[in-house]
């Protein structure tokens, strides 16, 4: 990992665990990477469309769309992302 990288923990919850085959991983992204970059990385690596109609996503416990600059929000070291299927009431 270079000094310019940020390491982000990504949790794959519920059905997303099946889609990726793992529960959690730590990923090093180049400094300056935004949520949009994570979105592209998820699509390329796991074919997960996020934001998308069947996936929900949080950054440090808040929805991506509520992050300060939404998809343009820059990641910081030790940020935590969680991905899970669409919730719809229980």
């Amino acid at each position: 990992m270079t000094a310019q990288a940020v390491t982000v923990r990504i949790r794959y919850l519920s059905g997303l665990r099946d889609a990726t085959g793992i529960r959690m991983e730590e990923v090093a992204f180049p400094a300056g990477t935004c949520l949009r970059g994570v979105s592209q990385w998820l699509a390329e690596r796991y074919d997960i469309i996020c934001p998308g109609p069947s996936v929900m996503s949080t950054l440090n416990g808040r929805g991506w769309s509520q992050a300060p600059q939404a998809l343009e929000t820059e990641l910081h070291d030790r940020d935590e992302i969680a991905l899970f299927p669409l919730l719809s009431g229980g």
Binding site: R11, L13, S14, G15, R17, D18, P51, P53, S54, M56, T58, G61, R62, G63, S65, Q66, A70, A82, F84, P85, L86, L87, S88, G89, G90
Partner: protein
Amino acid sequence: MLNGYCGRILRVDLSRRTSKVELLSEELITLLLGGRGIAAKYYWDEIAPGVDELGEKNKIFFFTGPLTGTPLVSTTKFQLATKSPETRMYLCSNCGGDFGPQLKQAGFDGLIIEGRASEWTYLTIKDGAVSFGDAGPWKGFTSTRTLEVLRETFGESKCGAMSIGPAGENLVRISYINVDNRAFGRGGPGAVMGSKKLKGIAVKGTGDISLANPERVAEIRKAAVTDLKQSRANHTKFGTPQYIEPLNTLGCLPTRNFQTAYFEECDKVDAHTMVEQYVEKNYACYRCTVACGKMCLVREGPYKGARARTEFETVGLLGPNCGISDFGAVVKANQLCDELGLDTMSAGNAVALTMELFEKGLIDKKDSLGIDAHFGNPEALFGIIECIAARKGIGDLLAEGMYGVKKARPEWKKFILDVKGMPFAAYDPRGFTGNGLTNGTSSRGACHNVGGWTIRAELQSGKVDRYALGGKGALVKGAQDSRAYVDSIGMCTVVRGAFGFSESPSGDVLEAVTGHAFTPKLMEIAERIYSMERMILNREGIRRKDDLLPDRITKETIPSGPTKGRILTAEMYDVMLDDYYNLRGWDADGVVTEQTKERLGLTHILS
């Protein structure tokens, strides 16, 4: 009469063992749609304030909606209204199974049960023919066994059937009605049936449901089935228990009587554990292609042989909220509740309360009939459930519901998680402020569905952060209203998205079924229904003071997990509540204003 409706209601008087058919007004249908809307109107007309919920004058109103029984997807739903034994006020409830579609095919939009039988009775309806039978020999039967003997006696295996278990017979105020192994769960409607000595009802219909445009209905169904196969794939695989892990990660999963909102052993009760070790088969309601029901079987260990269809709320409240980390124990407790006839959600809250009182030394083994009622003890979970159903020991007090517990033991109020006597669902509102407003302003006491489910929007909307206060009034109102019309059309909320039934309704489903242009008016009708229900509550004495949240939410911070330090104080809540009342057109005390009644046509409808 519009297509999709029968235009007829069956009214049954148990006291006189008579029945009669009444006509349903088309004007009422165009104003209130069906299901929940029309049931509430009948409640307004026929249940005066002060009626004893367990007395002869209480009634049960069952109403289908225009989509119930039609060949779309999951058109299984029908609605109940009655005065709640648990909350001592208006109750609406929604249920699947075959009963609603069969009632409609028998030629009735609604069924009204009134009076009280002198002896234990069952009722059968075959098309227009109504019969009363002696259910005396079935007294003490579990709800599931009662369904079996009822169907056998009726001679119709493919019918709709409902029953109560021993808890309903014992007038336990948190007892449910088992409908084809689905549930009118909340509010204690099983005790209303019990008070009427009505052990079960079966219905068989052989008629057709008329459709305005059958070809278009078939097209809509085909497109929805394709949509649901993709959009609800996770529901098909994991059912609603798939929410356990995300909600725990979000710090919103009630744990040990809401003392915290993060369960350390979540892995042991999440959907993966369920699917990998317990799921026997999927269960689908009438005409449903999603099949989100998960029939679970315990295959080994001390609870081997236990079998139940576990849902998210049940897992959350009988599991982590009671400190239970053994999924097999949750299945066994679920089965106990189902068979004895208890609502799993209220039972989970009651057990959790007992465990906290026990751990704090406020009750002892003498109260719990020798049960070591510590959090995490499965034997305590089972034992307390049995005590409630049989009204033994502390179970006799818990059987009165949280309203009764607070009245008898006001010093325990700070440990009780309820609004208006109805205990919370498996979400901690300190992690989602909108969910607090949902619980406070729901038409039936703390309810995540009727109150408007906001969790997704509180994460996904760019406008309303989960901890924010601004915008929550509009968010909750919109969710409540859309739920009110969905509860009135007769379709399951899980599939609604595939039919355009959102807060901005689209498509032509109701037009294709009924021939009437309902879709553009749905949110207007829904708002009318919600304020009508509030008028009922106002008439029963409900005001702002009753919409407030319990002490644990407003006075205690979450002590651990991702939401550590979060709280929803009374002052924070007031900000949202004021905003909400204003948007609803209710005054500062939560009373529907005369202007709002006029605007929504309620002055005329309820005259």
